[in-house]
Symmetry: C3
Subunit: 346 residues, 3 copies
């Protein structure tokens, strides 16, 4: 996809200084730019790069005053960072927007409907009684069971598997090979040592504007629903167990896991490789550091936690510093013991 600098300036409501007929075909950081690229300068720390960048154009704040000659064409805007983001979004939208229609072979069951302007990729499978909104993209090799609902503008990437009766809201993105709605891990021990499967009859509800990464797993509820509230962002390889609820705008980084029946509040930030035990409640605005293990409910909002078991971040750091210094502490203890012996002896 190609634009002239002039077209971009118009899109961003900006003013051009330099050649506005240059063609832009990619974006790059200002320090890595190549001819044909567009970059931005927002943080003055990066200003030195603007004098040497090979990018063909740079978006700058309207108050930017060059201290030397610049070979790139400049586009002056109110806020360079925001403008750059808008540009990238526009670019991505145009690329993504190009997919629509039905590739063959693909499968759609009885009584399932798709809204206008949908994309159904080759080898995708939609079961019976599904309701697919408008502008939804179902990429190749995705599988939707029976009775699945997907809201307008949501994107189901290649190889995603969505079990029966899952409900997905609007503007959601589910990346490749993620599995939504497979059975929760529930087994009842039997007298002979074997386990009997506890039927998992609930579903998964994903509200609007949720993003879920690749190869993640979100189990259906035993009864009722596993719920991902609106605006939540879940990274690759995350595990969400049965009957969990993830609050609005909560962010969970890669490889973390939330055990069954736990409720995580709104606006929480859970870093990578964290584990939460089952049947606990985590208050809104809780922050949990990487590799932590949370073993009990957090009632107070806004805490920062770390460690396994997780506790107050600062206390954790203090203890960890002392763990590092344990050899020294033992030396001091030995020293006191020696002096004690000497004094006993005297």
């Amino acid at each position: 996809m190609k634009f002239t600098v002039s077209e971009i300036a118009q899109m961003l409501n900006g003013t051009v200084v330099g050649n506005d007929q240059i063609t832009i075909n990619s974006a790059a950081k200002i320090e890595e730019g190549l001819p044909g690229c567009i970059s931005f300068l927002a943080n003055s720390k990066y200003e030195p790069y603007i004098y040497s960048t090979l990018s063909s154009a740079v978006i700058v704040n309207k108050d930017f005053v060059p201290k030397k000659d610049i070979s790139a064409t400049l586009i002056y805007v109110d806020n360079a960072y925001t403008a750059f983001t808008i540009l990238l979004e526009e670019y991505q939208k145009r690329i993504a927007g190009s997919k629509s229609g039905v590739e063959q072979p693909s499968f759609i069951g009885e009584n399932s409907e798709t809204g206008e302007n949908c994309y159904r990729g080759a080898f995708s499978y939609i079961g019976k009684n599904c309701v697919i909104g408008k502008n939804v993209k179902i990429y190749p090799q995705a599988w939707l069971g029976d009775g699945v609902e997907v809201g307008d503008y949501s994107v189901i990437h290649p190889g995603v598997k969505i079990y029966d009766n899952t409900i997905i809201g609007k503007n959601c993105t589910i990346f490749a090979n993620t599995v939504i709605g497979s059975d929760g891990f529930g087994f009842a021990p039997q007298p002979d040592g074997s386990y009997k499967t506890i039927p998992q009859l609930g579903n998964v509800i994903i509200e609007d504007n949720v993003s879920i990464g690749s190869n993640a797993t979100i189990d259906c509820a035993t009864m009722g629903s596993t719920i991902i509230r609106q605006g939540a962002k879940i990274d690759n390889l995350v595990q969400i167990a049965h009957n969990v609820e993830i609050g609005k705008n909560t962010v969970i980084a890669a490889q973390s896991g939330v055990s069954g029946s736990t409720t995580v509040g709104e606006q929480c930030v859970i870093a990578g490789q964290v584990g939460l035990v089952g049947h606990i409640t985590v208050a809104n605005n809780t922050k949990i550091g990487a590799q932590s293990g949370l073993g009990k409910s957090i009632k107070k909002e806004g805490l920062s936690l770390s460690g396994s078991p997780a506790r107050d971040l600062n206390e954790h750091l203090r203890s960890m510093a002392l763990v590092r210094r344990l050899p020294e502490l033992e030396e001091r203890l030995k020293d006191l013991e020696r002096k004690q012996e000497t004094s006993d002896f005297q």
Copy 2:
């Protein structure tokens, strides 16, 4: 799927008090029930909910005596919990049982056979020389390589990949996008710093009644077999490396990993995000707490372990309590040092 209360009572060998012609179309916890749902009351802690539940019917123990009016229809049975489980299973069986036949397009290689009443979903792929038992379900987009065997009544969910020569027993369930039998991670360092791939020629054997979650990975053996013994239950995103053996009825929770050539005994319970190093043996009935790291063999049966490195659970808890109290211990040490100095000075 819909039943009348009368039909359900007959299925459970129960006695109805109330309207037995109400239609039931879902199950719910007693505290979350809605009209059309059936719930159960087994634990007297939940008794208050039976007087306010919106569920249309509740299964209760035969000795239950209401203390107030109840609007729901009651079904009296010998054991309410067991009866409810039986009901859910029956429900699930009827749903699951509905799939059979071959959807097109699907692929089956030379010399492969499927037993009676199988389901082969669209876009599923079965290689050459495979033997698929009766009542097996191979969901859409599953892939079976050459020479794979799947026993009667096993279910291979959408997108599962099963490499050549894997043997899967009866009544097994493999959830979506799990990979069975891909190469073990084996590389021989070369003098120039590169690594040469060690050919992985073994297979995976999964015995009867095993359940494996979604997006898990089970590697084939270098030579011989990686073995999952009967009744083992493995959760989502678990990694089982080459030449591992998982014992009968052992349970492994989400995101745990077992390294190459390790043997885990029978009836073990491994919690989430646990790691086991390679080439060790773990005795029967071992319990390992979440996020633990087991670095050596466990010879004695029935131990409870925790921590990284993992050791006796109680010792681990005691040490962790002291880690939390390290700032206090250091204060006490300083205090003694000050007193010591004072006494030296006197």
Copy 3:
């Protein structure tokens, strides 16, 4: 696949003692061999097994002198271990080599080319403008977006998903259901508490001779490229975030994760379930122990690290030993306190 001992000896440039017309159809460890198997004896520790093995043939070093009767046919070679590896490779090559041609239905977009002798499995999908080298295998249900390049002799296993503009070198192997090039986890917080998706416009570059396990995830760069350098080996369920660079011949074991914009040097060895924070640099030849968490850059080459937070392995082990002994240290502290009190009192 079957060979006679005579054919194998010729392949390995070896000398046969015994019946060279026996048919070999499998390989096994010397202690687990069965008739029809070939084994090897390199380490004299295993010598006792050669006198009792049921394997039909054993590859031995040319200086091996039997102390008792051996029923197996022997093949004498310069280096038994190397010869065995060559044999296994040859075996695997012949099996793998059998796949070529195009199975139907499969999908290939406009303007995409495949080199000679490629395999494209049923239900595989190749987008537009892709360049696929010669002898490449694209297994069933794999998906390649638009503008993807795959070098000669690389193998894309079943269900792998490769996003637009990914570049994969020669002789690479990507195992089942791995996802390459899905969006990095980048979201800009908004004043109302919601998050706005930061467009991820970069790609992934995988150099030659890289191996990536099953169900792994490698995110595309925000801008520029996420890069896996030549010869790197990445295990199952590993997460590589956006803009990461993994150095030449670096090995990363299962379930580890590398956060955004981190650069890992050459010849590093990262064990299982390790986490690296974002925006750090790790020097060449660094070794990181299992379940470690690395929170800062490592400048010096060749260090061995462990723990979370990770630090020098030996220091970590010393501290961990003291953590285990904390109850004892507290007792000693109490003891000193008691004596101190007594002496204060005197």
